[in-house]
């Protein structure tokens, strides 16, 4: 009998310790190799550790809650033989010396008989008569064919070999892929894909990654959602679009929301501000400069419509279209890409039930606009169909209280539900 000491193995990239969740064995228990013995929680996951050996548990280290270091002995077993804790005994002279042994061919389960229908349904797949591989033998294929099958996730036992004695060729793998596996004989190949593509995160993508991280890791976000009845706004929008003069842009909801924000932000200046958290200063703005989150081929840009407070709805629509087109074309200048005091992000027709937008630091709030949908709602005890739009907003809770954010969104809702008040 010897003692086998087992150290907590390296259970994941960068994991140096784990917390004991549960010992599944107790001192005196007999265990078999690979029986689960310990459940350990790391900062990434909870992992079950299997027994490294057959034996009887001699001692355990730690109870639930104990932190074990990787490499620390956590359990000892009494095992047959010498274990790993005592000196290895020398084999007796009688023991045969390890010598080069002729390799034994792996014993492979019987190959399933070839599926007849497959040959009939897909005559292209197997142009030559299919030879049923000899029972009791592994599929016949060269090393290159075996490696290719491995990389393509193809089980050679399921491939009809067209060569002598059913030998599988590269062409047979091609046919198998065209035909799909016997299980999924119809339709495209269901072969497991194992490839990966590495895309370096550089340029704009890296900038986006950095600013999102900076924003999300320093700003305690809180989100607030509301539903707005835009039935009247829709009717105004349709009317204006049908009567617009040449040269006037087609109006979407956004110019109205921009105009409503002029009022709402003006009344709640706490939300129209930049917070320099290093200096500890919040700067409130009289001007309303609205960032418009814009998806481009190169990634996310936020071009800015300046001084919305000095615009009417037509100008706002024109300006918004101009700056977002410039961003998409890559012609936007630095002036058009900086200086916003608040940002709108619209998913347009993609809609969605809600989102938790990330604040465009150092701004203190962001508004997400979802699509307007005809929805059954209750008005005066009756179910009626109204055009409803959802708004999602996020706020920097360090400088915007929940109350302030809610007040702004409620004000915005009131303005949008009674569009005449936007202009009064």
């Amino acid at each position: 009998m010897g003692v086998f000491a087992f150290k907590l193995p390296d259970i994941g990239e960068g994991v140096v310790e784990g917390e004991v969740v549960e010992w599944m064995v107790a001192v005196g228990d007999s265990v078999k190799e690979d029986d689960p013995i310990l459940s350990v929680m790391t900062d990434k996951a909870t992992v079950e550790i299997p027994s490294p050996t057959d034996g009887v548990v001699k001692s355990l280290v730690g109870e639930p809650g104990t932190i074990l270091a990787v490499g620390q002995v956590c359990i000892e077993f009494d095992v047959d033989g010498d274990g790993n804790s005592s000196a290895k005994s020398e084999p007796e002279a009688s023991e045969p010396a390890p010598e080069p042994t002729p390799v034994e061919e792996e014993v492979v389960e019987d190959i399933q008989p070839v599926v007849e229908e497959k040959v009939e349904e897909k005559p292209v797949a197997a142009p030559t008569p299919v030879v049923v591989a000899a029972p009791g033998a592994r599929p016949l294929a060269s090393p290159a064919v075996r490696q290719r099958a491995r990389e393509s996730g193809i089980d050679l036992a399921s491939v009809n070999g067209s060569g002598p004695a059913g030998r599988i060729t590269h062409a047979d793998l091609d046919s198998w892929k065209e035909a799909g596996s016997p299980v999924a004989a119809a339709g495209p190949s269901r072969a497991a894909r194992t490839g990966t593509t590495e895309i370096p995160v550089i340029g704009l993508r890296r900038k986006i990654a950095e600013s999102m991280t900076a924003s999300y890791s320093t700003i305690p976000h809180f989100s607030y959602f509301e539903e707005v009845d835009v039935t009247e706004l829709e009717s105004l929008r349709v009317h204006l679009n049908s009567t617009r003069t040449e040269g006037q842009p087609k109006l979407t909801y956004l110019p109205f929301i921009m105009q409503a924000l002029v009022k709402a932000l003006g009344e709640n200046p706490v939300c129209n501000a930049l917070y320099d958290d290093e200096k500890g200063v919040v700067t409130r703005f009289d001007a309303i400069h609205l960032g418009i989150a814009t998806q481009t081929d190169r990634g996310l840009y936020v071009p800015v419509v300046k001084h919305v407070e000095a615009q009417d709805v037509w100008t706002s629509a024109t300006e918004m279209q101009r700056v977002s087109q410039a961003a998409r074309d890559g012609t936007a200048g630095l002036d058009e890409l900086t200086g916003s005091t608040f940002t709108i992000t619209s998913l347009g027709r993609m809609g969605g039930l809600g989102a938790t937008p990330i604040i465009n630091k150092p701004e203190v709030g962001i508004l997400g606009v979802h699509n307007a949908v005809d929805t059954p709602v209750v008005r005066n005890g009756q179910i009626v169909i109204r055009r409803m739009m959802r708004l999602s907003s996020s706020w920097d809770h360090r400088v915007v209280d929940g109350w302030d954010g809610a007040v702004l969104v409620q004000r915005l809702k009131a303005l949008l539900e009674h569009p005449a008040t936007i202009f009064m």
């Binding site: 002279a93 023991e95 010396a97 390890p98 010598e99 002729p102 390799v103 033998a137």
Partner: protein
Amino acid sequence: MNVRKCKVLVVGAGPGGYVAAIRSAQLGMDTVIVEGEKAGGTCLIRGCIPSKAMIHAAHKFHDLAQHAKDGGHMGISIPGPAEIDMAGLKGWKDGIVDRLNKGVEHLLKSSGAELITGWAEFKDAKTAVVGDTQIEAEYVILANGSVPIELPFMKYGDGVISSREALDIDEKLEHLVVVGGGYIGLELGIVHRMLGAEVTIVEAMDSVLPIFDKELRRPLELFMKKNKIKVNTGVFAKGAEKLDNGKLKLNFIDKNHADDESKMQSVEADRVLVTVGRRPRSEGLAPTGVALNERGFVKVNEKCETNMKGVYAIGDLTDLGEMLAHVASFQGEMVAEIIAGKDRIYSPLAVPAIVFTEPEIVSVGMSPDEAKDAGHPVITGKFPLAANGRSLTQEAEKTGGFVRVVAREDDHRILGVQAVGTHVSELVGEWTLAIEMGALLEDIAGTIHAHPTMTEMTHEAVLATLGHAIHIA
């Protein structure tokens, strides 16, 4: 302490480690390889290569001695006896080893891998200290290799030697006793017999080379008998005593009467060579946390992954595959590619094994018995060296060898090929390829084999398996 961070750390520059390091560097990974002795490992420095050099020299001397003694054989005679200077022989052998060592160092350097000389001491699985350098790696390939097993009652030293010292003998021996009749003991025993020493083999099993079947062993046993190598099988070695005359006395006893002191036999020798096998050099690995099996081999899966993430082990150190240089090299190349992202596993159909005795014994794939045990319907065919022209011209038939093919009766796939005979080892390449490619008897039968070469025997043995060999009645 200097810190050297790298992507891949390879421990051990033997045939597994140095191949892993070169492939790893070829794949663009920052690679460090650590070796405590000379780059090249057991195989190049103190195993396969030096022993093959000694074997070649022993044959040469043996032939010259014969021409000197029975003048006129082949019409060649030498006036006076052939002489051997063991120190000169050792120097020549060391020159070959040196060239290969320099070659490996050069290959490592050209590939971009950094060779650090010294013994690696692990602090944890990914951190090793060599001298005053701390190496911190993302991936580790353990290729520590193996060492000769020492018998507890007959420790190395004072005339009791391992294969390593046996290759550095620089004096003529009168009598060499070999404990352990495996391939290493027989190769070295036959070398010293050919160089003129008396040789006695002491083996516990009922035959030498018990892993090979009787048919394959027979020509070797005949050769040893003819050359007066004394073979004692079924006996236990019981220790060596130093005698007053400076020689050693090796005691051994019939294993069926091991407790009966009166049955003790003994033999006097200049050296006792102990070749009872090799064990993995895994004793320094405790800080890495890699799991070992009960015999001290590092446990790995078919990707050579240990239980520690990012730590791989290859070659003699592991419980995967035979303790053979070419297995280690194959695994080394594979692991480097796995680390670089390729999906590979170790699953060869055929691992060739060669015993460089006289005659040589070669085997790849399954023997007839192994094939039957595995459930295959088996057919076999044999062809003797005595019926092969090329063999006759180089007197290779004198040791009575043959080539034997094992195939499946129903689909004719080749399952294994074995041979025994002088110069047969070089034939194994074709057989290994045939098995890996899934060749049928008809594939080899349909391939033209050059005349006059020994490869014709492969063709003929295949024809014999099909029932229609040409050059044998």
